[in-house]
Every structure is written in structure tokens, then in C-alpha cells.
């Protein structure tokens, strides 16, 4: 491929800066959360996260170098590959904390479910781009893309990883609405959803039901999941307006917080930086999301718009659900906070996703050859 100098001109420095800024906050926050942790690996978790960010940047570069239209030519193949990985997890995965999420290859373990988020976006984008319909899709036309999501949804649900599974569904709904759905289809789906929602209760495991009951009443299980929520609320609330200061969070430092480096990492941040810090963080997230939507809006074609939208909305939902969960608005479903939670798989996939965003962004001025 001949190098086009316009690519360099179009490189999205704003996006890169935003991502690096938020990642840096994440690493700093991890440093604090592991500051007094006795585990040898706990203390160095932030160092590992630096490595993950660096590795993620490599993936980011790979993802923006190759034209997204070229990538999408193989979208279904990539999607099939990711489903294969999920199946491998299903049969051979390693179990951590009671759920089977990890696949170990050559000593490196990763979460296939993270990868699937991206491949689903690509597959959906390609499908909607290939099957453009004026006036929006009806339910029948949405069946195939829905199946695309349903397969990984079931596999991830079975792991069990309720959070990621639900995010996939929300992702599908968002992308479908964005691609255009007939009004009556939206209304009938909504009605069906409301009616069928109580039925979903039967499909939940005891553990998941318990999580939801605890969300309604945290005192229900003061020693288990309820404890997470209570402690998380104490941590966040005690941060007050200005926070307790970096490395000063007592809830964090005294290890009252469970999962404080992964799903509950936001409560560490909130305790130490207070309401003002949280506002700054949320504004930065908002800036990132708005920028992503603007990339989608200015994309040169529908495919790019769909990809950019998919990635942006995914990041948004993850942020919303995670923070909502930590604040006690949602039940504890177990979902990482983008750029802040510790985790190799999620960081790399996020960076790759940002790479795709840049991909769309920097090619917006290039006309189709």
C-alpha cells in the first residue's frame, strides 16, 4: 500500500492524548490502590499495567495502520475466530474465582470475551454496511445480526460473566438503533422486553439472583456481595468534595475494599480525589466519548461511522455500568472500568479499539480509491 501523506496529516492527536491521559490516571490510581498491599504482586500491579498500556499501544498502531475497509473484508473470519476462542474457553478454559474466563496459550492467559467485543462490532458494522435499507430495518432483517451477538452472548453467559454478556446485548441494541430500525419494530421490541424481563429471572443462577437482591437491599448479605457495595459506598462517600488525597484513602489503604484494583477501582479514585476528581474524570470520559461520536459523524463512509460508533458506545456503556455499579445504582455484575481497571486483556482490546477509531478518523479525508 502506497503511503499517503494525508494519513499523517489526519492523525488524531487529540484522541491519543486523551487516551494516554486517562491511562496515566489509571496507572497512578493503581499505584495507590496497591500501595500498601502486602502481596508481592499487588505492589507491582501498576508496573504491569504500564506494560499492558505499552503492549496496547502496539496493537493500537497495528489497528490504525491497516485501512479499516481492508480489515472489514475479513470481519466475519475474525468474528468466527473469536467465537472459536470462546468455545475453547468453554471447554478448556481456566477457572478463576469460580468463572471460566481465561484461555492460556503459551503461558499467557487472556480473556477471549474481551476480544469478542471488538469482533462483534466489526461483524455488525460490516453487516449493516452490506445490507443498507432505507427507512430502517424491521425485526426480521435484524435476526441475523442478532444471532451474531446471541452466540457469544450465550457462551459468555455460561462462563459465567454476566457483565460482559449484557454489554454485548446493549452493544447490539445501540448499533442497531444507530444503523436504523423501523419505529414499530423498536416499540414492539420494547414491549416484548418489558413483558419478558421477569422471565429472564429464571435463567439467572442463584448467585446472580442473589446479586440483584443484594442490589435492592445490600443488608441482605452483609458478609458477601453486600459487603462490597457497602464498603464501596463508604469509600466513595468518605472522599467528600476534595478527597482524602493521593495515597491517603483509608478505606483503600486498609484493604476494606474488595476487588479494588479491578472492578471496584473507581471507588479508590473517588475516595482519594473526591467529588471534584470524579467530575474531572467523568468530563474526560465524556470528552473521549464525544470525540468518538464526532469521528463517527465525520467518517467518510457508513462502515467507518458504524465502527467508530460501536467502539465509542461500547466504551460508554462500560463506563456507565461500571461506575453505576460501584456507586450502588446497578447490581454488581463484574465489569472493568475502561483505562482504569487493572487487566491485560481489557487494556489491550481497548487500545486496539482506540486504534480502530483513529483508523476511521485519519482516513476521513481520503476518498475511496
Amino acid at each position: 500500500m502506497k503511503f499517503d501523506r494525508r494519513l499523517l496529516f489526519g492523525f488524531d492527536w487529540v484522541l491519543l492524548s486523551l487516551v494516554l491521559l486517562i491511562s496515566s490516571i489509571g496507572i497512578l490510581n493503581l499505584y495507590s490502590s496497591g500501595y500498601s498491599l502486602a502481596d508481592l504482586d499487588g505492589a507491582s500491579l501498576y508496573v504491569k499495567q504500564v506494560y499492558w498500556v505499552l503492549i496496547g499501544l502496539v496493537f493500537m498502531v497495528i489497528c490504525f495502520c491497516i485501512d479499516y475497509r481492508f480489515i472489514c473484508r475479513y470481519a466475519y473470519v475474525i468474528y468466527a475466530f473469536s467465537i472459536l476462542l470462546l468455545l475453547l474457553v468453554f471447554f478448556y478454559g481456566n477457572t478463576v474465582n469460580g468463572s471460566k474466563r481465561w484461555l492460556a496459550v503459551c503461558g499467557i492467559s487472556f480473556q477471549a470475551s474481551e476480544f469478542v467485543k471488538l469482533t462483534v462490532i466489526l461483524a455488525l458494522a460490516k453487516y449493516f454496511d452490506n445490507n443498507k435499507i432505507d427507512g430502517g430495518y424491521n425485526l426480521k432483517e435484524l435476526l441475523l445480526p442478532f444471532l451474531t451477538v446471541l452466540v457469544p452472548f450465550i457462551l459468555i453467559w455460561k462462563q459465567p460473566d454476566l457483565g460482559t454478556a449484557l454489554i454485548l446485548i446493549i452493544l447490539f441494541l445501540s448499533m442497531a438503533v444507530f444503523a436504523g430500525v423501523r419505529r414499530y419494530s423498536i416499540i414492539s421490541t420494547a414491549i416484548c422486553g418489558v413483558v419478558l424481563l421477569p422471565l429472564c429471572w429464571n435463567f439467572l443462577t442463584e448467585y446472580q439472583k442473589e446479586r440483584i437482591l443484594i442490589w435492592i437491599n445490600p443488608e441482605r448479605d452483609p458478609l458477601g456481595a453486600g459487603y462490597h457495595v457497602i464498603q464501596s459506598k463508604i469509600a466513595i462517600g468518605s472522599g467528600g468534595i476534595f478527597g482524602k488525597g493521593f495515597l491517603e484513602g483509608t478505606q483503600t489503604q486498609l484493604k476494606f475494599l474488595p476487588e479494588q484494583q479491578t472492578d471496584f477501582v473507581f471507588s479508590v479514585f473517588a475516595e482519594e480525589w473526591g467529588f471534584l476528581g470524579c467530575v474531572v474524570l467523568v468530563v474526560m470520559f465524556l470528552a473521549l466519548i464525544l470525540w468518538g461520536l464526532s469521528i463517527s459523524r465525520h467518517s467518510r463512509d457508513l462502515l467507518g461511522a458504524l465502527i467508530a460508533f460501536g467502539i465509542t458506545i461500547l466504551v460508554f456503556w462500560e463506563i456507565f455500568v461500571n461506575i453505576g455499579m460501584v456507586l450502588g445504582i446497578f447490581p454488581v455484575v463484574g465489569l472493568p472500568l475502561p483505562f482504569l481497571s487493572y487487566g491485560g486483556s481489557s487494556m489491550i482490546i481497548l487500545m486496539a479499539g482506540i486504534g480502530l477509531l483513529m483508523n476511521v478518523s485519519m482516513r476521513r479525508f481520503i476518498l475511496q480509491p
Binding site: 452483609p222 467528600g240 458506545i313
Partner: protein
């Protein structure tokens, strides 16, 4: 801008923008909700939470459940729980750990007690709020010192740990088993999720077999502690559920008798009620003291147990596989009768030896038994008679009847570690040794020697079936499970494995012969002859190595390891048998002289003491 719109070919760009605007609204509202929630938690209720976080330190503590008790059939406690005390220190609260430990040592020294804990090891990184164990299992004296001086000993906490108390010590060791910290293997293979690292679990015997019932459910406490690490109050509590109590069929009185009877021997005694297969006593010697395992057995003690050549950890009654020797003749006789190969009257001539090809097999009685038929052949345990009928029956039929009597398969008793013994067949020999079955091996098998192996429990169970008229029961040792408050959870009823393939008539003939072994002049089990009840029994002398037969080598001159195993199996009374006893004395010599007297003691005390007491 207008130019770019056109590039969104096929779609109406205005629609797309409208939808983006819709999502913009969704996002704004969602993030606003988060902000409002943050405002509520951090600004409006910030002070409340700040106070809770600063003044109160709430942590979680696990409350271990008590394991269930174990009782014998008379309601005597066999296993109870008692308290054991550990002293720990929380570094953060102690501020200077070394000086606090020094103070404890000083206090001990005043009472001439010694500090048993090692040095407090502190790694490079440590958790200041996690207690460090100083001393384990301290005495009451030390406990009172630590408790009364607690104000001078900041950060020092006493943990109460329930430990098992095995009241009968060695006597019940193999039945009850012992507890120990869960192994990492078990933890990994456990799928129920009921176990955590550090849990005490049953490792042997009933403790292991019924662990999931006995262990109970752990509870927990949300504890508020002050800055010094002291508990202020328990905020929330989930009570642990104590484990189920177990009632065994064991009679501890009889168990004691059996234990004493086996004094100084290595071997096993089992007592079963043949009417329903319930185990009244099961003793193995040597044994171990399960109390030693309570707080983790010391390396030294563990090595002693493992290196003991007599294997004190082994439950010989169910996992010792012995050559059944003459006790097996019963099954051979049953096979010959049932197959119609002999009549009770048919006789063979025993001149003390039996020729097969160019091999000579001897009878244990040098001069031979002369003309002999079934009844005397069993009573006097004539080998030549059985060589003859064994050849007629053949290995295949012998195997069939052995299995019919429950040999070669686990009985299914509620204890872990049972062995299935071995019933040899032609195919087994070929697979195992790549050699065909020899006729001489059938001859050996006919008197219960050679390849065949049985556990004492299997042997006794086979005799029980004969005693009760043909029903082979699953031996059971657990009577019932009760909840901690005494509600019956599960009653273990007698279960039937099968019926032995012997007709009622033939059972009578065989029982009569066993009666003769004890009550007739030349019977091998005369040691059991009692005035009051008719005891039926059969001796066995299992060759450990093929010693030169017939030579009268004095028993004392043979090295211990090469001496014969002595076996005796009996039941009483003749009609409506209610007790059956099996005795195995390893390297004890003759069944009649080494094992039968032990059985006698048990039968005697059963009829003289226990039965009379029960009937009163």
C-alpha cells in the same frame, strides 16, 4: 461540510446525525445520573461516610462451625469438640511487636512457663492488620496470663479454635479417622465450593466419609474494630450452622473388649450383627491416636507413624487383604453341594497327602483323617477332602460362588478406603501373569490358599450370610445422622447386597458342620465351646510363605514376618444368630490357638455382660 454528507452513500446522513443526537442525549443523561449519585454520596452524605470510614473500621471475620459429634449406639459420646487457644499479634496495633512479645515472655517467666512460639518472622512486605500467630494451642495457665494482662499487651489477641476430642483415642482410631487441614489437591478438586483453604476436614474413617455432613456451614461476622485493632462490636452476624451428629452402630463396650482381647497383637477384630449387618465393633491393632492430628501432627510423630513396620494407620478390617485359608473351605463346600457334585455323605480317604501329577499336597494333619465326609471335613478342616472336591468344582465355579458370597467386591460399608480383595479366575491369571491357569492352583484355591485374597470384613460378611439363612447385607456402621438439635436427618437402614446362592437345606448342612468345628471332639475351633450357647465357627491359618510342610518347626524359631496369619470366623447362637466375630492375627500362627481365644473373649463378654445388661 456539504461535500462530506454525500459520501455517506446509500444512507441518509441526516438520519444518522439525528440518531447520533439521540445517543448524545442518552449519554448526557446517563453521565448526569452518575454525577448526581456522586454528588449525593460524596457531598450530601460525605460527612456521614467520612465518619464511618474514619471511626469505624469494619472487617469481615469468618466464624468456623463446630463439627458434629459422633455417638455410639448406646448414646456414649465418641468424638466431642473442645476449645484450643492460639495467641496472635496484630503488628499495626502492637506498634512494637518485639517489645510486646518480650513482655509476654516476661509474664510467662514469672510463672516459670516457657514461650513456645518461634521468632516472629516478618517478610519484606507484610500486612499490618493481619494477625501473626505467636503460639498455638496454649495451656489454660498461659491463657489466663494473656487474658488478665491484655491491657498491657496491645495488639495481642486470643483466638479460640474448636478441636476434636477423640474420647477413646487409639481404640476407635480407624473407625472415626481424624481431621487435618484440607489439602491443596482436595481444594482444587472440590466442586461444591464448600471448602476454603485452612479448613479442617476429615481425613480418614467416618470423619472423612461423612465430612460434608459433619463439617457444618461456616458463618461470618462483620466486626467493627477501633484504631487499636480491638473489636468494638459485631455489626452483622451470620451464625455458623454446626455439623450433623452421627450415631454409629458401634457398641463402645464391645469395642473396648475387642481392643483388650487383641492386646499385643497385630491384626483385626470385627463384630457384626448378622441379622442386619450392623457393625458392633471394629478394632485394628496397632492403631494411632487421632488426637495427635488435631492441631497438625508434629513431623516427628508423623514419621513415627509412617515408618512403623506394622502400619498403625491401616484399617486392616476393611483394607487388609488376607489369604482366607481354611475359612474359605465353607465356600468350596457350598459350591460342591449346590452344583450337586457331592452329597453330605460322600466320603474321601485322607492319608495325609494328595497327589496331583508329580506334586504332593499335604493335609495339615500328618497322619491323615482317614475316611472323611463333608461334616467332619469342615469341622476338622481336612485339606485332602477339599483338594478332591476343589478339583471337581473347578476354578470357574469357585469364582462364581466366591463372588456369590461377596468376595472380590467391596461390601459398601460406610467407611473410606475399603479394598475389594481378589477372586482369581483363569482370565485374571492370564492377564496378570501372561500364563495359563494350572490345575495345582485350583488345588491350592480349594483350601483358600494361593492367589485368593479377602478382607476380614468380607469374610465375616460371608459367614453372616450363612448365619442369617442366606442374606448378604451391606455392613453398616452408621446408624443415623442427626442435626445439632437432635432432629433425625437420615436413618441408615439395613441394605441387602444379594442372597448367597445356597439352598436352605445346604445352609443348614454347612452351619451344622461349623457347629461341629466348635462343639465336637476333634473340631478345630474347640476354644469357643460354651455351655450356654452353640457357637459355630471356622479356623484358618494363612501361609505367608511356603514353609516346608510337615516339619515341626517351632513357631518361635520362624522370623515374625514369615509366620502364618491366624484367622477365626464365628457366629452364635446356632439358631437366630445375633453376633458374628472375625479375628485376624497377623503372623499369629494357628487359627485355632491364636485367633479363636480372642473370639472367645468377645463372645463371652457379649453373652455374659452386654446381652444381659441390654435385656434388663
Amino acid at each position: 461540510m456539504a461535500g462530506r454528507q454525500d459520501r455517506l452513500t446509500g444512507h441518509n446522513p441526516v438520519d444518522l446525525r439525528n440518531r447520533l443526537r439521540f445517543f448524545l442525549w442518552v449519554i448526557s443523561i446517563a453521565l448526569s445520573i452518575l454525577m448526581v449519585r456522586m454528588w449525593y454520596l460524596q457531598v450530601i452524605r460525605g460527612d456521614v461516610f467520612r465518619q464511618r470510614s474514619e471511626n469505624n473500621r469494619i472487617c469481615l471475620r469468618e466464624v468456623k462451625p463446630l463439627r458434629g459429634r459422633i455417638y455410639d449406639i448406646r448414646g456414649n459420646i465418641l468424638v466431642d469438640n473442645q476449645a484450643s487457644f492460639d495467641v496472635s499479634i496484630i503488628p499495626e496495633d502492637a506498634e512494637d511487636v518485639d517489645s510486646v512479645v518480650g513482655r509476654i515472655k516476661g509474664l510467662y517467666a514469672q510463672k516459670l512457663l516457657e514461650f513456645s512460639g518461634g521468632d516472629v518472622v516478618r517478610g519484606k512486605v507484610r500486612r499490618p492488620f493481619v494477625p501473626i500467630k505467636l503460639e498455638r494451642n496454649i495451656s489454660r495457665e498461659k491463657l489466663s496470663i494473656v487474658e488478665t494482662n491484655s491491657l498491657d499487651l496491645p495488639g495481642v489477641v486470643v483466638d479460640v479454635m474448636p478441636v476434636r476430642k477423640y474420647i477413646f483415642g487409639d481404640i476407635m482410631a480407624h473407625i472415626l479417622g481424624y481431621v487435618g487441614e484440607i489439602s491443596s489437591d482436595k481444594l482444587e478438586s472440590d466442586t461444591s465450593g464448600g471448602y476454603k483453604s485452612g479448613d479442617m476436614v476429615g481425613k480418614q474413617g467416618i470423619e472423612k466419609y461423612l465430612d460434608r455432613y459433619i463439617k457444618g456451614q461456616r458463618g461470618g461476622e462483620q466486626v467493627e474494630v477501633n484504631v487499636a485493632g480491638r473489636e468494638l462490636r459485631v455489626m452483622e452476624k451470620v451464625d455458623p450452622v454446626p455439623g450433623c451428629n452421627v450415631v454409629l452402630t458401634i457398641d463402645s463396650y464391645l469395642q473396648n473388649i475387642a481392643w483388650d482381647a487383641l492386646e499385643g497383637k497385630a491384626g483385626s477384630v470385627i463384630v457384626i450383627n448378622p441379622r442386619d449387618g450392623s457393625v458392633m465393633a471394629m478394632v485394628n491393632r496397632p492403631a494411632f491416636n487421632p488426637n495427635l492430628f488435631n492441631r497438625g501432627i508434629s513431623q516427628n510423630n508423623w514419621r513415627k507413624l509412617l515408618n512403623n513396620p506394622l502400619h498403625p494407620m491401616r484399617n486392616r478390617a476393611i483394607s487388609g487383604q488376607y489369604i482366607p485359608a481354611s475359612t474359605y473351605k465353607l465356600i468350596v463346600a457350598a459350591a460342591a453341594l449346590e452344583e450337586g457334585l457331592i452329597t453330605p455323605e460322600a466320603s474321601f480317604f485322607c492319608d495325609g497327602s494328595y497327589k496331583l501329577g508329580n506334586r504332593t499336597f499335604r493335609c495339615w494333619k500328618k497322619g491323615g483323617h482317614g475316611e472323611i465326609s463333608l461334616h467332619r471335613a469342615i469341622a476338622e478342616s481336612c485339606d485332602v477332602y477339599f483338594y478332591n472336591i476343589g478339583k471337581m468344582v473347578g476354578v470357574a465355579k469357585l469364582a462364581k460362588y466366591s463372588l456369590g458370597f461377596g468376595l472380590g467386591a467391596k461390601t459398601g460399608i460406610n467407611l473410606p478406603g475399603e479394598k475389594s480383595g481378589l477372586v482369581p479366575t483363569k482370565r485374571w491369571k492370564l492377564n496378570r501373569f501372561k500364563e495359563p491357569w494350572q490345575l495345582g492352583e485350583t488345588t491350592c484355591l480349594a483350601i483358600g490358599q494361593g492367589f485368593i485374597l479377602a478382607t476380614p470384613l468380607q469374610l465375616l460378611n460371608a459367614y453372616c450370610a450363612l448365619a442369617n439363612g442366606g442374606t448378604l447385607y451391606v455392613p453398616r456402621i452408621v446408624k443415623r445422622l442427626e442435626t445439632a438439635d437432635g432432629r433425625i436427618l437420615e436413618e441408615f437402614n439395613s441394605e441387602i447386597i444379594s442372597h448367597i446362592p445356597v439352598s436352605e437345606k445346604n445352609i443348614e448342612i454347612l452351619k451344622r458342620a461349623l457347629w461341629g468345628a466348635v462343639n465336637e471332639v476333634n473340631g478345630t475351633g474347640r476354644a469357643l465351646k460354651r455351655k450356654e450357647e452353640d457357637v459355630c465357627g471356622k479356623t484358618g491359618t494363612a501361609q505367608v510363605v511356603g514353609l516346608p510342610q510337615g516339619d515341626n518347626v517351632r513357631k518361635e524359631k520362624i522370623p515374625y514376618k514369615l509366620r502364618d496369619h491366624a484367622l477365626f470366623v464365628c457366629f452364635a447362637p446356632y439358631k437366630n444368630s445375633e453376633i458374628a466375630v472375625a479375628v485376624v492375627v497377623e503372623h499369629g500362627g494357628h487359627g485355632g490357638s491364636a485367633a479363636a481365644p480372642i473370639a472367645r473373649k468377645i463372645i463371652d463378654s457379649y453373652f455374659n455382660n452386654i446381652k444381659m445388661r441390654s435385656e434388663k
